[in-house]
């Protein structure tokens, strides 16, 4: 993932929400499958679910060259993979968290950005601020662009997580 190009070509990005058994090497199996089949991982977020024997891996895949169904079918062959849901853009709630360490200058302008994106200042000193913001990844792109003019010293994004729309 590189800088603010994080969500370029959003239409090519599908999310595979993959439920796995929490077993030795499971992440390695998934990452290995992607590299050996030539699939692209755009971002990846992984954490245990409410059931500690299961983890949920949210993989954003670039389907520009490979159809997401083929990726899902290959993933499904892994013995430790329990379930795969393909979430298409627009049909799911997507969120990502970003932490940015920025130069503290022009407090009014900074306040405007913070308010606009619903961000919060989680740490500060006289020269720098650390800003936390969680939003849809495209919103984070915009926020990142807005922060750039203050001078980004360090920035970290988590990769997106998602759940399907409830419908109805």
């Amino acid at each position: 993932m590189t800088g603010s190009t994080a969500t370029n070509g959003e239409q090519n990005l599908h999310i595979l929400s993959v439920l796995v058994e929490n077993r030795f090497g499971v992440l390695s199996r998934i990452a290995g499958l992607f590299s050996r089949r030539g699939f692209n991982i755009f971002s990846l977020a992984v954490a245990p679910t409410d059931d500690p024997s299961r983890s949920r891996i949210s993989i954003v895949v670039d389907v520009h060259n490979t159809d997401a169904t083929q990726i899902a079918k290959q993933l499904d062959k892994l013995v430790n993979v329990l379930d795969i849901t393909e979430l298409q853009p627009g049909s799911s709630i997507e969120r990502e968290l970003m932490l940015a360490r920025v130069t503290a200058s022009d407090a009014d302008a900074m306040r405007q950005v913070i308010d606009q994106f619903g961000a919060s200042v989680v740490d500060s000193n006289e020269e720098e601020l650390i800003i936390s913001v969680h939003a849809h990844p495209t919103e984070l792109d915009l926020c990142e662009t807005a922060l750039r003019k203050f001078g980004i010293i360090e920035l970290q994004r988590t990769g997106r997580i998602a759940l399907g729309h409830l419908g109805g």
Partner: protein, 579 residues
Amino acid sequence: MELTGAQALVKSLEMCDVEVMFGLPGGAILPVYDPILDSKIRHVLVRHEQGAGHMAQGYAHVTGKPGVAIVTSGPAATNIVTPLCDAYMDSIPMVAITGQVALASIGSDAFQECDTTGITMAVTKHNYLVTDPADIPRIVKEAFHIATTGRPGPVLIDVPKDVSNETMEWYWPDEIDLPGYSPITDVDADKISEAIELIRAAEKPVIYAGGGLLKAHAADALKRFVGLTGIHVATTLMARGVFPDRDPLCLGMPGMHGNYTAVMAFQRSDLLINLGARFDDRVTGNTEFFAPDAKIIHVDIDPAEHGKVRLPDVAIQGDARQALEALIAEHEISGGSKVDRSEWKSTISGWQEQHPLQYEQADSGFPLKPQFVLEQLRDNTPDDTIVVAGVGQHQMWASQFWKFDHPYTWVNSGGLGTMGFAVPAAIGAKAGQPNRMVWAIDGDGCFQMTAQELITAAAENIPVKIAILNNAYLGMVRQWQELFYDERYSEVYLSPDHPDYVGWAEAMGCAGIRVESADEVLSAIEKANAINDRPVVIDFRVDAFEKVYPMVPAGGSNDDIILGPEGDADAKAKGTAPS
């Protein structure tokens, strides 16, 4: 009953009905080799761990049962990676057991440590690192289940030395609990009727029979389906023998070195019925030009094969035998073909008449043609002889010129193309079918890669027979250099005399015979067939300049098939840099 992990492992293998395992002991697997002494399972001591893996494969090919290989950690585990990858590519059921350094030493770069599960992750259907001896029965049972069900494949179990030494309370699990693994074998009835509609309406249908049919024990069902529909069958390299070559509806092998008729029947077909094959690049050539007018029915137990290479019109997920049974039942209900296929049939028989496989053996007997050797072997061995090949020209000639009339009589390395496969795989096949004659057809290049396993064959009394088609070259590479690299022969000459194959065979406890002329072929074969107390090696000195035809230049369209040397100029013009 309290057992050590090692005892539990061997007992678990017995519970899985293992009859024979192929292996070689070493430090980390030492605890497991002690209870092997007391086990009813036969252990075949190999001379190199790669041999253990290929023997397990050969055994699995001819018995349908999972082959078992057992080796130690580190270099032994890395030596078995090639057979694992080969088994993975060709969907061969296999269980490999590797020793590992003690759990506490893992990650410390201990002596003979390597990350076996990490290394083999990409070449196994699944693998395990055992961390508790109490898990051993469950893991062994799961491993055999995974290896043999769905799309078969290799499974590896890595057993640290301390886990083998520690004790556990013996149990045998009643059930398998693998929530993430449930291969679907039942076929969808709607898809079956859609397929039958396509079949009934097709004017130019062809069956593209793949290795999945053998895995599914579907040879009989295929015969009945063909009897019912009258549709021609081409059998891929992995499926040779699943439909009898002598049946008039058999077209032989398709692909890069396939029979002209099989290749053209695919190209001109309006319906390809793919049963357990995967549109391999050696069959399709350039996919853009492959069977351009054909609709596709694709039966595969692995849904990831549907649309991986070619999008099917009807995708049937499931076991090939069950799919065929369902197709037969539906076809019987729906009535026969709606169209007249007589024109297609006469087109096919026209191709067969015009373009049979061809070669010419000079009356003088020199130079000896490899195809002549194969025809003589074919005609002077029992009908159910098991034929095992390495990889290269000899493999293609063997597939072309043998007449396979029974399933499970052909063993070769298809997907991975592993040179050196034949000798150990033949030993494994003979261990699995000791009452059948087993002939390995090998090249001189291949033979030199794994021939030390003939010592295993001699020592273990596994009397295989090896026919080396010795052309003194890495022949297939030589063929491509001739056609596509302006006859610039780079590092392909091996010499006919070094090694002295007869001397080598004798040094390894085998009988050795040399054949230089066509006149000597029959008597040598008869002599070899009569030797059953040790392995036999025949060094057939064959024509180094003979090439494999037909040939579709790599990356080219199957329409550009070259029939013989007269087409070499075309091949050179049309062939891209081979891949």
